[in-house]
């Protein structure tokens, strides 16, 4: 098939053959495989059509079988965020004097601007939720144990990158709540030894000014999305190497893959449906422009930082803040290095013990989140 004359030998329609003479379409298509969209390895030396046919004869990997969709769902949400984000960037102007006004014009005057804006916001919430749910699944099913250490670490880093993307996005609208949420979040970050200093180096100081807005904008539209994409790719690569579930592999052949494709399409449709519904029925309220001298009621750190905030504030006053920050960082490092801390013993630690620990950790997280929420008055 591969033969000396690909144009003549290929069974594909002529335009595809023409392109394949000049570009390796299989290699390009295998990009989807790398992100786990097409769940089978492709032989990139072969023409696309042949490579796919060959791949379809192999069984569907177990990680790609319904209802194990959190990974692919996070990818879909990232795609939605990218598309809506680009649309928002057509109108948004990242300077303190224009940020609020341009966001308002975008939401109030631009046709369907409100819709794109709200879908972007809800997709961000959904992505954080899905990434957290995925971490929860790894945690409860002890999927961080060898050989899946890297999958866990990459998943956690992806969640952290997503929270930072969310945080930087909150400032961009330059609204009162967004501005003060950022201020509160940055206060927590500055209390962290080393990481706080690193953050200060990147952002340029504790004040939230026009340069911070520019830097947050750059982080939000370039650095963090790239990091997130890279981490999702790494996660997918890890999953393809070591697998993720104990379920058996699926069937092989065109039918099995068609079923899988239909599952994906239905999932994508329902995801879009959920986002559209949330954006239409529960849009975020309009807010006043940011005033650095007036803190609005209920200006809290974002929800994913509430636990850290509550934890930091739960100590008596004499306990130095850097030490509290160090404890938060210790918890973060423990979470990151969990695969190496929770090594099963020789006889193999029981999964039940790990689950009890997981439940305790989540209960502590929820308790501190609740405590952090309670620290601020207002809605």
């Amino acid at each position: 098939m591969s033969g000396a004359d690909p144009a003549g030998g290929s069974r594909g329609p002529r335009p595809i053959a023409w392109i394949e003479q000049r570009l390796n379409l299989t290699e390009i298509f295998s990009f989807l495989t790398n992100f786990g969209v097409f769940p089978a390895e492709l032989d990139t030396r072969k023409p696309l059509r042949e490579a796919i046919h060959e791949a379809l004869d192999r069984p569907i990997p177990s990680y790609a079988r319904w209802p194990r969709v959190l990974g692919i769902l996070s990818l879909m949400l990232l795609a939605v965020l990218a598309v809506t984000g680009v649309m928002l960037a057509f109108y948004y102007q990242p300077t303190p004097s224009e940020a609020y006004e341009s966001s308002t014009i975008l939401v109030r005057d631009v046709t369907f601007g409100w819709f794109v804006h709200q879908v972007h916001g809800w997709a961000s919430h959904a992505l954080l939720f899905v990434l957290l749910l995925r971490l929860g699944r790894f945690f409860f099913q002890t999927l961080y144990r060898p050989p899946r250490e890297l999958i866990w670490m990459v998943g956690l880093l992806a969640f952290l990158a997503a929270t930072h993307a969310d945080l930087t996005g909150r400032l961009l609208g330059w609204s009162g709540q967004g501005y003060w949420t950022t201020v509160r979040a940055v206060e927590i970050l500055y209390d962290l030894p080393v990481l706080g200093g690193l953050f200060a180096f990147v952002v340029g100081g504790p004040g939230i000014d026009s340069l911070v807005l520019t830097r947050f904008y750059l982080m939000h539209i370039l650095v963090l999305p790239a990091a997130l994409t890279g981490l999702l790719y790494l996660g997918s690569a890890g999953v393809r190497r070591v697998g993720l579930s104990g379920a058996p592999e699926g069937g092989a052949g065109r039918a099995a893959y068609a079923v899988y494709l239909h599952d994906l399409m239905i999932l994508a449709l329902l995801t879009v449906g959920a986002l559209v519904t949330l954006a239409t029925l529960l849009p975020a309220p309009f807010d006043q422009p940011a005033d650095p001298l007036v803190t609005p009621r209920g200006a809290r750190p974002p929800w994913y930082l509430l636990a850290s905030y509550g934890f930091m504030e739960a100590f008596p006053g004499w306990f130095p803040r850097w030490a509290r920050g160090l404890l938060v960082e210790a918890a973060l490092v423990c979470a990151l290095l969990l695969p190496f801390l929770d090594r099963p013993g020789k006889e193999g630690r029981r999964v039940r013990t790990a689950r009890i620990l997981a439940a305790a950790a989540i209960a502590a997280w929820l308790t501190f989140t609740w405590y952090g929420w309670r620290l601020e008055a207002g809605p």
């Binding site: 068609a258 879009v272 239409t280 975020a284």
Partner: protein, 400 residues
């Protein structure tokens, strides 16, 4: 007095702050309570000493010496205004303080001053309002004559039941004032732009404003109301009938915030039912009520839209514009010129209606959004159903 006692006195005098009239003053040794009061006064910080008013020798160590040379002792009430004026009416002395020097002249024209001139010691003199030894700057909030404290200071005499009975004054002006819109603003909210007693009656020249002067007094603040009043027929008619211009409808000490409903009650005091003036009043009230209702309806709609949430800041700004027109229109009623009232209330009303229409439009868009969402879900579910069916067929081995 033995030498040891004199030495002890001299030692304690040296311990006192210097600067009371240049030489160390020993008056406080026998008058410690007066000295304590004096220490808080503006005269203390300006180094006006005991002898400036009382005479005598502040450096003498014994009573006979201190109360000797030029000692005036306790000042007679009737002599107090002239004593204070010996400095305060002297332009040369007052110039560095930038204080007025006309207080004595004004005082002599006041009801207080004329009463005192008739030999009535009950008349208020300088010290009754300003204090004697503990006089403070009128800008000092703890001063008796600071704007916030003036009503209480006047009330010490003017709300005193026996004094009121003696002078045949009816009513308690302080109680009336405290309940009034002015008293509420000044005493409860501390609003220093609200008038105290002296803003209407004068301070040193205090006297009740005469008939025909009330509109000038009220008009110092309520300028537009006065302007429109003077263009209307009430100004000449009330002057002819000897009626108090503003107070006839609004009262004086107890003047309340003027609601539009005053048009229903105040006019019928003079005008008979069914006459043209009452008809005019009711038409003006209808105009005000109509504009107010349109604005309130619009405001409620804007609040509803804000909860949706829709962007409503523009509408809020326009409602403020409508409020301004309505507020602007209120004083024009004093002209009794319906067309003027109509002009401004119509503006307020039309802004209110415009905002209502636009917000209703936006709320209507919202209904369309929901309808669109329902249609979207219909097509989405149809698509999902088709996909699910195709999926089942593939799963069942049916293929395409």
């Amino acid at each position: 007095m033995n030498p040891a006692a004199v030495l002890a006195l001299a030692a304690s005098a040296a311990a006192l702050p210097a600067g009371e009239g240049g030489a160390a003053s020993l008056c406080g040794l026998c008058h410690p309570d007066v000295r304590v009061q004096y220490e808080t006064s503006i005269h203390r910080s300006e180094e006006i000493s005991c002898v400036s008013c009382h005479g005598g020798d502040p450096s003498a160590g014994d009573v006979a010496g201190a109360h000797g040379r030029g000692f005036r002792g306790r000042v007679r009430r009737a002599g107090i205004p002239d004593l204070c004026a010996s400095c305060h009416a002297d332009a040369g002395i007052m110039r560095p303080y930038n204080l007025p020097t006309d207080q004595l002249a004004l005082y002599r024209t006041s009801a207080h001053g004329r009463l005192l001139a008739r030999g009535d010691d009950r008349a208020a003199v300088c010290t009754d309002c300003h204090g004697a030894h503990d006089i403070r700057s009128a800008r000092d909030p703890s001063s008796r004559v600071h704007s916030l404290n003036v009503p209480q200071t006047c009330a010490r005499c003017h709300s005193d039941a026996s004094l009121r009975a003696a002078f045949g004054h009816l009513g308690d002006p302080y109680a009336d004032f405290a309940a009034s819109v002015h008293g509420e603003a000044l005493l409860r909210r501390g609003n220093l732009s609200a008038p105290d007693c002296s803003r209407c009656h004068g301070a040193h020249g205090a006297a009740p404003p005469g008939m025909g002067d009330v509109d000038k007094v009220c008009g110092q603040c309520h300028q537009t109301a006065r302007y429109w009043f003077r263009t209307g027929p009430h100004a000449t008619a009330m002057a002819r009938e000897g009626m108090s211009e503003c107070a006839s409808c609004h009262g004086h000490h107890a003047t309340a915030a003027a609601p539009v409903s005053l048009l229903e009650t105040a006019c019928s005091g003079c005008h008979a039912a069914g006459t043209a003036p009452l008809e005019l009043a009711s038409r003006m009230k209808t105009l005000y009520d109509g504009a107010g209702e349109e604005i309130e309806t619009a405001r409620a709609l804007v609040d509803k839209a804000a909860r949706v949430p829709l962007y409503v800041e523009d509408y809020r700004a326009r409602l403020q514009e409508a409020d301004t027109s309505l507020i602007e229109s209120l004083p024009t009623m004093h002209s009794l010129d319906l067309s003027r009232v109509e002009h401004l209330t119509a503006r307020a009303r039309s802004i209110g209606r415009e905002v209502q229409a636009e917000v209703n439009g936006k709320l209507g868009d919202r209904a369309w959004r929901r309808l669109g969402l329902a249609a979207f879900w219909f097509y989405l579910l149809v698509t999902v159903a088709i996909l699910a069916r195709r999926r089942r067929r593939w799963a069942g081995g049916g293929g395409r």
